[in-house]
Symmetry: C2
Subunit: 119 residues, 2 copies
């Protein structure tokens, strides 16, 4: 049971769109991600997904609209909802979702990351 | 599906030690809490509990040690672990835990808050 400092954890990796697990609560994981440019359209059929912006500005595109999230803002993407995150400048985010969720959901892509990369 | 701004939500209440629910992800709730001074010793027998500090400094006392958490830091308090949060100055935190968890866990106190107070 150690405390986790987000800034220190972000210093430990540079790879974009590649979630790093920093904590587990019950069967849920807390993951840090650095993002820039476009991700891929995808959905998670079995779970909601929480995005919290820790640094910068991100956008999450849905089929009918785009939500801009700034530092200090969060969004719950509902289960099954198709979405595509993007960021004009590099941004840092916290994801909360059940253990074992793959970043690209129902899609296989060159951006599909390995799960359970703990730092 | 609306985005949530932590600062705006914190403007909507002043009561200390009284969690306000701002989001639900699957069967988990995200709660904002303003805290100052001492809470009560308690434990949650059925769940881990996540503390994220959004403003100020908090301490979480355990039977054998005390963890200080600053803004940008988080801690997972393990299921069943007796703890007592406190803050010398008013601080703002985010809690993540399953829906329906009572703030004082196994203990009834004047600080026991009502659940599911959405803002």
């Amino acid at each position: 049971m150690e405390k986790i400092n987000f800034a220190s954890k972000f210093e430990q990796f540079d790879e974009l769109w590649s979630p790093r697990v920093i904590a587990q609560m019950n069967n849920y994981e807390f993951k840090l991600v650095k993002i820039k440019d476009e991700f891929v359209w995808h959905r998670h059929d079995d779970t909601d997904e929480v995005f919290v912006v820790l640094k910068g500005v991100i956008n999450i595109e849905f089929e009918d609209r785009t939500v801009e999230l700034n530092r200090g803002e969060m969004l719950v993407v509902p289960k099954g909802e198709k979405h595509k995150p993007f960021a004009r400048e590099e941004a840092q985010i916290l994801l909360v979702e059940p253990k074992g969720v793959t970043n690209t959901g129902d899609v296989k892509s060159h951006l599909t990351a390995k799960n359970s990369q703990w730092i």
